[in-house]
Symmetry: none
Subunit: 186 residues, 4 copies
DNA sequence: GATGAATGAGCTTTCATTCAT
DNA sequence: AATGAATGAAAGCTCATTCAT
């Protein structure tokens, strides 16, 4: 018997993500995904039970990838200013560097039939471990986790999604960082 | 005759928006929309050239409806605190009261095939006329319009979309308002 | 708007019956039926909700057609011998003349997923009105309706289905008639 | 090794027969049969050349199993009444006790692509050896083998297939036995 | 011998749209 | 203007079968 081909599964995922970006969730049909991945449509059903299942599985795999990415840039002896700057810059950087995945995740997040189970707020534990430490040290203000998540990430993501409309993104980013530092630090 | 037409078109729009909330953009087929609206599929093509056209037209009609809604609650002699509270509360209120439209707009905004032309930043002129006045009076800090838009609306929208995950939405809302007042007012 | 085309629906039915005979219920795919009927596969779904529905509807339409056919050869002043001869000969005759429909019905009758609702015993009322009259007159023996149905029709149908294996069908038919006359008449 | 093979093949046969009762010949796909039998789809092709081959082989194995079953209850010194009662009761009993096999055989018998070669009339030799003896002894009337087969088995099989529609099967069975005794015995 | 992976062909059904009235 | 009928194209998915191990 043949063994499951991890590269093949990766090709399927990539094909799906890439197609969803090009043509929306509508346009990413199983047949097109299969063609782009270089496999038969039937093969996709070896790896996933249904298209819905496939979407949900890949979405939940990538939904929090930006937070995992972030973690790599953090360390516990940063100043408060650096922490906030890093969080925002890295989020923006991730959106630019992994444009496809970022946009894929945003699209899935808005679709009520997919989103359902995955709530970002639940899933950036290590980041909040760090933030809580800074709160205990009296560096970051004691707002609720939910509102910190909302103000730290929603505006910068909004900015990243619409960056083509921004005359000078870098300048806007700097301003946003300054705003968040003033808002969140003592 | 004229009246009848407009009512029919309204029924079609409502059916579409309602279906998109229930089943996502995928699930809202022309046949289903027609059935829900109580008309023939062919009738829809009397009012719109294509499904894509219909989506785009209705989207652009509703894309900024939350800002129009907001305007009704604003007046130029509010205090700065009141202004910000009103902007945030009204945005949240709109999302709850007009759940269908809110979800429809958010979904369309993420879909690359629809969104294309519409950028929120361009479209809330009267609100920014007011904000500029407050800035000139030295009440609101002189951040860029884009960042003010981002921090005022993105977090509260994020909150509205995920409100089922919030233990006490009202409390979170109050905290968010306080945060924004501290951030934006002198 | 166009009106429903009864001829078209008839063509679909005929195509289905003919295909089931040639290739079994398996082989009669919607696509093939459509092709044989000269319509698009989608058109079939204008007339039937699903393939299952189509099968059930056509089956129940033809399931009792042999009994309707029989009725035409019966009259109330026949002798008992003639009545029984006519019932058996007509059943056999129907099977030969309408080979496709007969075989289609037999096939559906054996398929547990289709058969379900249709029970022959319930559906030959006028024939049994006549038989009951003959029973009251003391011509036909007072066996239960179910067993009369079973012995009158099951053997002759069995014979019709396997007639290619019979060396002299006419002779066998005559013998069977004689047997039934002896069994059922006083 | 040999033992294991035969058990495995038995599991495949049983799975197929059981699935056909539950879901019809349509519903019994190779994949489902494999799953129900606890083997790989590929394994089925170790034992059979094709699905059609498998169906035909298993059908021909079971097609006359009811007659083999019958033989066990017969002996040559029964009275004519007992012989007929035993033949009918055993046929009915077989249909009830081996519902799956009975339904499988009936379904295959109606399916033109499978049935083809097998004609019941050819295959109950020992039963007819016995019946011929009773005919020679002047106990059973000298009807042709074919018609005796038809009247002895077709009605009781019809009854067994539709037994859910019978208010009192035992009573009907008794009546049918009495009818056949009167028909076939001197 | 036995298997899970893989597949081309085909399945049933729905799609957005147009036709004829 | 309005419609139910009609459709080619495509959707998601399963089929019987074969491949590679």
């Amino acid at each position: 018997m043949r063994t499951k081909d991890i590269q093949k599964q990766k090709r399927i995922k990539d094909a799906m993500i890439s197609l969803i970006l090009k043509e929306g969730i509508n346009g990413a049909s199983v047949a097109k995904i299969a063609k782009e991945a270089g496999v038969s449509p039937a093969t996709i059903y070896v790896y996933y039970d249904s298209k819905e299942d496939m979407l949900a599985e890949v979405f939940s795999e990538y939904a929090h990838s930006s937070y995992r990415y972030l973690s790599r840039y953090l360390c516990s002896d940063m100043s408060g200013e650096d922490l906030i700057e890093t969080l925002i810059r890295s989020t923006y950087g991730y959106a630019c560097e992994h444009e496809e995945i970022f946009s894929f995740v945003e699209q899935c997040s808005c679709c009520p039939t997919i989103q359902e189970s995955v709530f970002a707020g639940d899933c950036c534990m290590d980041i909040f471990d760090l933030i809580h430490a800074y709160q205990r040290k009296g560096v970051i203000r004691k707002y609720s986790d939910q509102n910190i998540t909302a103000v730290l990430f929603a505006p910068v993501k909004y900015m990243a999604m619409n960056r083509s409309h921004y005359p000078d993104p870098e300048e806007s980013l700097e301003e946003l960082i300054a705003m968040m530092q003033r808002l969140l630090l003592y």
